[in-house]
């Protein structure tokens, strides 16, 4: 066994060396970070646009108007059923061709992701808002509150604890999904990674493992704290509800 493991370990060490070289040669490392920044800023902008829109849509979905409910439900289901990739392709290839408008990849991505986020947030917000007990709502009504005041002073404050962990989880999903941006020619971290592999195909044919491994690490560094934070908040919300 020892005989067969040793050479393999040695060759792994030498490829690790190669991988290290590939990632840190020239400005490769900086380029990867810039790519990562592109991914994160697109995800961030999508969240900044999508969350307020989603809160409004979610609040509207708690109204008794049946038409509004159905329309907004369909909106949500569209984004649930369609793979995000299809949404991106629709926005990037088909819409500009049909409507004759030129939009940059990152803009398309922010809009498409933003709409997706708003749909998901609307469901998180609606679910949390309706979980507030009727008694609490009656108490607010008995004080003469309007629908908006009920939302502002009773429903939102009492359900925000439920919304935050789900929203953070959604944020990590959005960040991960930015890896699809490669397919609409946005220079995101995965695109940069592929460019690096391309240019090293001859000298380091096994660079892929290390480059992707490194990208994995980058995504992990960004998403793991968020995921932990969501877990922590969820735990705290549960404790509060019991207390």
């Amino acid at each position: 066994m020892v005989h067969s493991v040793l050479p393999e370990a040695m060759s792994l060490a030498s490829t690790a060396q190669a991988g290290f070289t590939v990632i840190f040669t020239g400005d490769n490392f900086t380029r990867l970070l810039v790519g990562l920044w592109t991914s994160i800023s697109i995800a961030g902008l999508a969240l900044i646009i999508g969350i307020p829109l989603g809160v409004i849509l979610g609040a509207l979905r708690t109204l008794p108007n049946p038409v509004l409910r159905v329309v907004l439900r369909i909106y949500l289901e569209c984004f649930r059923i369609l793979p995000t990739l299809v949404v991106l392709f629709l926005a990037y290839y088909i819409l500009p061709a049909e409507f004759n408008v030129q939009v940059s990849g990152p803009t398309v991505a922010v809009v498409a992701f933003g709409l997706w986020v708003s749909a998901e947030i609307s469901d998180i917000v609606r679910g949390a808002l309706v979980s507030v007990s009727d008694h609490q709502v009656d108490a607010g009504k008995a004080l003469g509150m309007s629908g908006l005041q009920l939302l502002r002073y009773v429903r939102l404050p009492q359900s925000i604890n439920l919304m935050i962990p789900a929203t953070i989880n959604l944020a990590t999903r959005v960040i991960k999904t930015t890896s699809l941006l490669l397919l609409i020619s946005v220079i995101d971290v995965v695109t940069v990674g592929q460019q690096i592999m391309e240019s090293n195909r001859m000298s380091h044919p096994d660079a892929a493992f290390w480059v992707y491994g490194f990208i994995f690490l980058l995504y992990f560094i960004v998403c793991w704290p968020l995921s932990k934070l969501a877990q922590m908040l969820e735990h705290r919300a549960k404790e509060r509800n019991n207390g």
Partner: protein, 269 residues
């Protein structure tokens, strides 16, 4: 306190002296049903200014539904509710909103807002809904809290209070809106026995100060002391009405007699 529905007694001589003659609230032929199921049938009664009306009756008799109809938390099918000179039986949700500022309600489950301190619970209605001056509200709150001996709990959260304390704060929260009428929906029903007294004593004090009140309760001793008028409901119909004294000492209907018997303390035989 800009309230379009309020009519000043002094400016409407046709109705005479409202404060003594005209009831503050007059319910006529009220009907309420959920689908085919009628829960209140032809209910009529008056609540004179400064008086206390107690609704008694077995569970499911429609007492709570009735009291909820009186501040628009339930809509009614037909009949009229004349409050302070205005028929509000078919008021829109928007009209109810301004009416509820003048009709206070306290619930069985207290329903203080758990995320707000005692003081913020009390401030919310007067400041955000009625848009009254903060200083004035603050003064009123201090007076009310002192009155219920809970001044020390101003910055406490509801979860830090006992049931009885919570319910007294809920009453203060309603009183801070300066209501003309107070509705109490089984406010001691979910309290531990030793907490009931402090809440009932507060309500007795309010009655003595001539607060107009409608009270749904199962506390017969309390009802006897506080009620000017007792209404006995069963299956959504007022079976019997009269002064507290008459009702408790000499009920007219068999059903009321049986109800009183069933509620009387257990005797060892």
């Amino acid at each position: 306190m800009a309230d379009a529905t309020t009519t000043d007694a002094t400016t409407t001589p046709n109705t005479g002296n409202r404060t003594t003659d005209t009831p503050l609230l007059s319910v006529q032929h009220l009907r309420k049903s959920y689908g085919d199921h009628e829960v209140l049938t032809d209910v009529s009664f008056d609540v004179p200014q400064g008086k206390v009306v107690v609704l008694l009756g077995p569970s499911g008799s429609g007492k709570s539904t009735l009291i909820r109809c009186l501040n628009g938390l339930e809509t009614i099918q037909s009949g009229s509710i004349v409050f302070d000179g205005t028929n509000i039986g078919q008021a829109s949700e928007k009209q109810w909103r301004s009416l509820r500022s003048t009709i206070g309600m306290v619930f069985q489950s207290y329903d203080l807002f758990p995320n707000l301190t005692v003081a913020d619970n009390i401030r919310l209605g007067p400041v955000k809904v009625q848009k009254r001056a903060k200083d004035e509200v603050e003064q009123q709150m201090d007076t009310l809290l002192k009155d219920v001996q809970l001044s020390d709990y101003k910055n406490a959260y509801p979860r830090e209070l006992s049931g009885g304390q919570k319910q007294r704060i809920a009453i203060v929260r309603a009183l801070a809106m300066n209501p003309k009428l107070m509705l109490f929906d089984e406010v001691t029903a979910s309290l531990d026995p030793e907490m009931v007294r402090e809440v009932l004593e507060l309500m007795l004090r309010l009655a003595k100060r001539h607060m107009t009140m409608i009270v749904v309760t199962h506390e017969l001793e309390f009802a006897k002391r506080v009620a000017d008028t007792v209404l006995f409901l069963e299956n959504g119909v007022i079976l019997e009405r009269g002064s507290a004294k008459d009702f408790f000492t000499n009920p007219k209907t068999d059903r009321a007699r049986r109800f009183l018997d069933s509620m009387s303390p257990v005797s060892a035989e």
